[in-house]
């Protein structure tokens, strides 16, 4: 096993990986930007190295500086976390070139899976279902029209070079096609430096279900079941759970097999996630593969008991997987709520600043992966995700009740967070019944209002607060009043009586 690892990230995921280092007796190093001098990951690591100014382009995205730190700190391996350089082919190559182990797949695998057109074709060729579509780049308008007719509306125009909803357009009628194509190409160019787009069938109200996989360098591949991630807002996942409410043993076996096959065909190694779309008839389609540790990986850890980060270390160190597919057992149900520094009651506007107080939930079945602490100033430069609330229980029903209990205990003051949003979801019948898809937030929550429950209590409390304040003011006025020493007073009274 490695003796020393560099964690090239920040926030909760850096802390997550640093914790694994500590438990494995591995010396850890990390990097920090100007505003992260006293961030939690900087306080947690064994060694810390400054790499630049606050903007990520000046620090966490600087491949040169990170490789330099890795050499200076004499680490054997680098864990990239998620985001930043985690899926960056150049970074993986730079590690390879410097003789430092990149804890993740090879740069070649990242490159193959990073191009959506190539990866889709690769999967389709071996019989893994993919969404019907152009099968390759769309050259011009007339080709787009031919393709769209062939596939049938509605269709989706997508960028080959990236995700996150950028360079993406839904087209429902032929007359919308031309302008949508132009917009998508222009967005793709500016977002990813690559104008290539392709067209595929647009699935109405699909569910987003992904499979966690582990693959060692010796050809062994297993999957750790699914995660349902359909609670999304602008393609950002907010709540994830496992098992999926719609999963059957048969469907799980088929999708798991497809996920393992996808990994094998891409010669992928380490931990990864195969994402699928599932339509209303339970047909599934390969969407893409995330070539890194996911935000939501703890959901799988809770139901399998497997520590995915530790497995990543072992795989990167060349060890063989210690468990076989048939030994992996699913136990209970787990739900993750992403706690972000955003105001859900104000269109998820970012909310940064000093965290005045944190009270975290405790007791049975609770796991908190946090990247902040009481007194920390949440900077404006990075992702708003500040913590993850994870809950395990013996069943989905029990888990939802436990999440509700935990959210009621959870208090973060000083900034706004997504906690009220999660409370709302946990009380929404569609979610509780498991009847939701990726349109859930727009279609169901769009109409739901955030209600307040304590008007009377607030009125009583503020009046009590006022009367206590007045009393304190009265007491301190008496204390401050000079010369009314009771001893002096009584002697003065005596003198007067004479």
């Amino acid at each position: 096993m490695f003796k020393k690892i560099l964690v090239a990230n920040r926030g909760e995921i850096a802390v997550r990986v640093l914790r694994a280092c500590r438990e494995m007796g591995i010396t850890s190093a990390t990097v920090y930007s100007d505003v992260d001098q006293s961030a939690l990951h900087t306080r947690y690591a064994d060694e810390v190295y400054h790499i630049g100014q606050a903007p990520a382009t000046e620090s966490y995205l600087r491949i040169d500086k990170i490789i330099e730190v890795a050499k200076r700190a004499k680490v054997e391996a680098i864990h990239p976390g998620y985001g930043f350089l985690a899926e960056n082919t150049d970074f993986a190559e730079a590690c390879e070139a410097s003789g430092i182990v990149f804890i993740g797949p090879t740069s070649k695998a990242i490159s193959l899976l990073g191009d959506k057109i190539i990866s889709k074709k690769t999967m389709s060729d071996v019989g893994i279902p993919v969404i019907p579509g152009s099968g390759g780049a769309v050259a011009d308008e007339s080709e787009a029209q031919t393709m769209a007719k062939q596939i049938g509306f509605p269709v989706l125009i997508k960028a080959a070079g990236g995700g996150g909803g950028k360079g993406m357009r839904v087209v429902r009628e032929m007359k919308e096609l031309t302008s949508a194509l132009k917009q998508a190409i222009s967005e793709a160019q500016s977002a990813f430096g690559n104008p290539t787009v392709f067209i595929e069938k647009f699935l109405e109200a699909p569910r987003h279900i992904e499979f966690q996989i582990l693959a060692d360098n010796h050809g062994n591949v297993i999957h750790l079941f699914e995660r349902e991630c359909s609670v999304q807002r602008r393609h950002q996942k907010l709540i994830e759970e496992s098992p999926s409410a719609i999963m059957t043993p048969d469907l799980r076996a088929k999708m798991g097999q497809a996920a393992v096959q996808a990994v094998k065909i891409a010669k992928y190694t380490n931990a990864g996630t195969v994402e699928f779309m599932v339509d209303k008839k339970r047909n599934f389609y390969f969407l893409e593969m995330n070539t890194r540790l996911q935000v939501e990986h703890p959901v799988t850890e809770l139901i399998t008991g497997i520590d995915i980060v530790k497995e990543q270390f072992k795989i990167a160190a060349g060890q063989r997987l210690s468990m076989k597919q048939e030994e992996i057992k699913m136990n209970g149900a787990a739900i993750e709520c992403r706690i972000s520094a955003e105001d859900p009651q104000n269109n998820f506007a970012p909310s940064t600043g000093r965290i005045v107080e944190i009270v975290e939930p405790g007791g049975p079945g609770i796991r908190i992966d946090s990247g902040v602490y009481q007194g920390f100033e949440v900077p404006i430069y990075y992702d708003p995700l500040i913590a993850k609330l994870l809950v395990w229980a013996s069943s989905r029903d029990q888990a939802i009740k436990r999440v509700k209990r935990a959210l009621k205990e959870y208090s973060i003051r000083g900034i706004k967070t997504s906690i009220p949003f999660h409370i709302l979801v946990m009380n929404t019948p569609e979610f509780v019944k498991g009847e939701y898809d990726t349109t859930f937030i727009d279609k169901v929550l769009g109409k739901v209002e955030y209600k307040k429950h304590y008007y009377e209590i607030a009125a009583i409390s503020s009046a009590i607060g006022q009367i206590l304040k007045e009393k304190r003011a009265a007491v301190s006025a008496v204390k401050k009043e000079p010369g009314i020493n009771p001893w002096k007073l009584s002697s003065r009274l005596k003198m007067m009586r004479k």
Partner: protein, 163 residues
């Protein structure tokens, strides 16, 4: 003591009488029994009709109860005097558009003298990898623009004044 409490613009009459270690409270005539279980100035634990509540009195006339935040104005009923400082701002003809979040000004899409209509985009602020369009809540004319592209602003900074 009797107060008028305006909670998010709902008005309540709160009449308090000290009783032992606690208070007997009449809220619009309805009686409640309150024990002050803990008084740490801006933090109270109250037991109201046998139910415990943690209450945080925030500096900016907000009160935090059961994880929810309420805007509060308290008036002394007898003298009708506002006890806290937040109110009294009169409606002005000018409207200051403030930054709802700290961030970086990506673009200002209007210029001084422009006529704008309610809901129209004024500028774009980026924070936490997200671009946010800031709109004018009502019709008017852009009087002054107090920020420019590339500038960093804090929450509450005045961005644009609409007349």
């Amino acid at each position: 003591m009797a107060y008028i409490a305006k909670i998010d613009n709902k008005e309540f009459k709160v009449d308090l009488k000290q009783e032992g270690k606690g208070f007997k409270v009449y809220l619009d005539g309805k009686p409640w029994v309150v024990t002050v279980a803990s008084d740490k100035g801006s933090r109270l634990t109250l037991i109201i009709d046998d139910k415990p509540f943690d209450v945080i009195l925030e500096a900016d006339d907000h009160i935090f109860v059961g994880g929810e935040s309420y805007n509060v104005e308290i008036f002394d009923e007898q003298v009708g005097r506002l006890m806290k400082a937040s109110a009294g701002r009169s409606e002005k003809r000018e409207l200051a558009v403030e930054a709802a979040m700290p961030g970086l000004i990506i673009e200002v899409t209007v210029k001084e003298g422009d006529k704008v209509t309610g809901g129209q985009d004024l500028l774009i602020i980026e924070a936490m990898k997200m671009q946010n369009q800031i709109q004018t809540p009502r019709d008017g004319v852009v009087k002054t623009i107090q920020v420019k592209k590339g500038q960093t602003v804090n929450s509450g900074d005045i961005l644009i004044i609409i007349e």
